[in-house]
Symmetry: C2
Subunit: 206 residues, 2 copies
């Protein structure tokens, strides 16, 4: 049976089936790419998940197994509402892994989802009910779980970083240079520019 | 001295000062709001950090101490390039915490940053050099570290979720309903719609 370290559940906050599915997905991705955990910025993940749907927990498993974390800027969402992710390593290329519909369907009748659809939060679900569904995830084969496609032509260039920063001339807080704006001749942060709503600045990978 | 559990470094992938700063920031936020860790979806974090700058590692500390994780949809970026975050709890309100410029300045001369500015990745920096700067973070007082502001009028309504999904009629993969699109009379996923570039769908909190 596959082993997910206890700290990954501690990080995630509760026991559910999708964090371990993500942990396994990240592990398979590293095997396919022939790489280890991303201690620094070696792996980037483009998750196809979005908002307002379940199963996002999978992404905490991806972060935990690969260390391609949100904090280090290596975990991005594409907002497609799909249970899949592309894993990119600058020297080893890319692989897309999707959870199989059939495996997803095989989980649906389990008691865990009876609780979830009644609105019971995962941490309130009886331990034996969570264990049943997690064991099913840990006992499945990689083939049962995943559709895997190598993407030899995939390219991604991470944003070039800079340490430059300055204090906002209104609030005084430090702002990294990319996000400084000008207002009435002053260098300011976006909230102090009071133009936040009109000129939302965000980041779309690729 | 403040204690950050070893698993949080394991999750993050390396030893650096900003993950522990974030761990402490999340801990202070929970104290100020009078709440514990978010086992399910109790806390939402709006990080003011962005892309292409250092110190994002702080956000892995936020995730680790609060369990308001990216995977569970509780960790969002506002792309302001600032070292601050707002923590929102539906029953307890909100608090904004910013790292003090003075503390940030006090770290800058340490040897850790001599390595970083030469492009040495954190996992390659000698252990005693990392320890020096992490100890400085763990020994500081909350007052040394943070500017804290309660936000009594802050409101945030998380997106309403739905379990509904259907298979894309082109690729066959499951898609959550919010992200299904119509093309030539078929229900399709965004990549199969081939309109991905023209109609980027993403999420801006608030």
């Amino acid at each position: 049976m596959f082993n997910v370290p206890e700290w990954a559940y501690e990080f995630h906050g509760h026991k559910c089936p999708f964090m371990p599915i993500g942990y396994r997905m990240g592990t398979v991705a590293m095997e396919k790419l022939g790489v280890g955990k991303a201690h620094n910025h070696e792996i980037f993940i483009f998750s196809e998940m979005g908002i307002g749907h379940p199963q996002g927990c999978l992404q905490d498993g991806l972060q935990s197994s690969t260390a391609a974390t949100f904090g280090k800027g290596q975990m991005h969402k594409l907002f497609y509402g799909k249970i899949a992710a592309t894993f990119y390593h600058q020297k080893k290329g890319a692989v897309r892994i999707a959870l199989r519909n059939e495996f997803s369907d095989s989980l649906a009748p389990l008691e865990f989802f009876v609780y979830r659809k009644k609105g019971v939060e995962p941490s309130e679900i009886p331990a034996e009910v969570s264990k049943e569904i997690i064991d099913k995830v840990l006992e499945a084969s990689n083939e049962d779980l995943f559709k895997i496609e190598m993407l030899p032509d995939y390219k991604y260039t991470p944003v070039k970083g800079s340490f430059n920063k300055a204090s906002c001339e209104i609030c005084g807080e430090y702002v990294f240079e990319r996000y400084l704006r000008m207002k009435d001749g002053k260098k300011v942060c976006i909230p102090c520019s009071e133009r936040d709503e009109q000129e939302k600045t965000f980041y779309i990978p690729k």
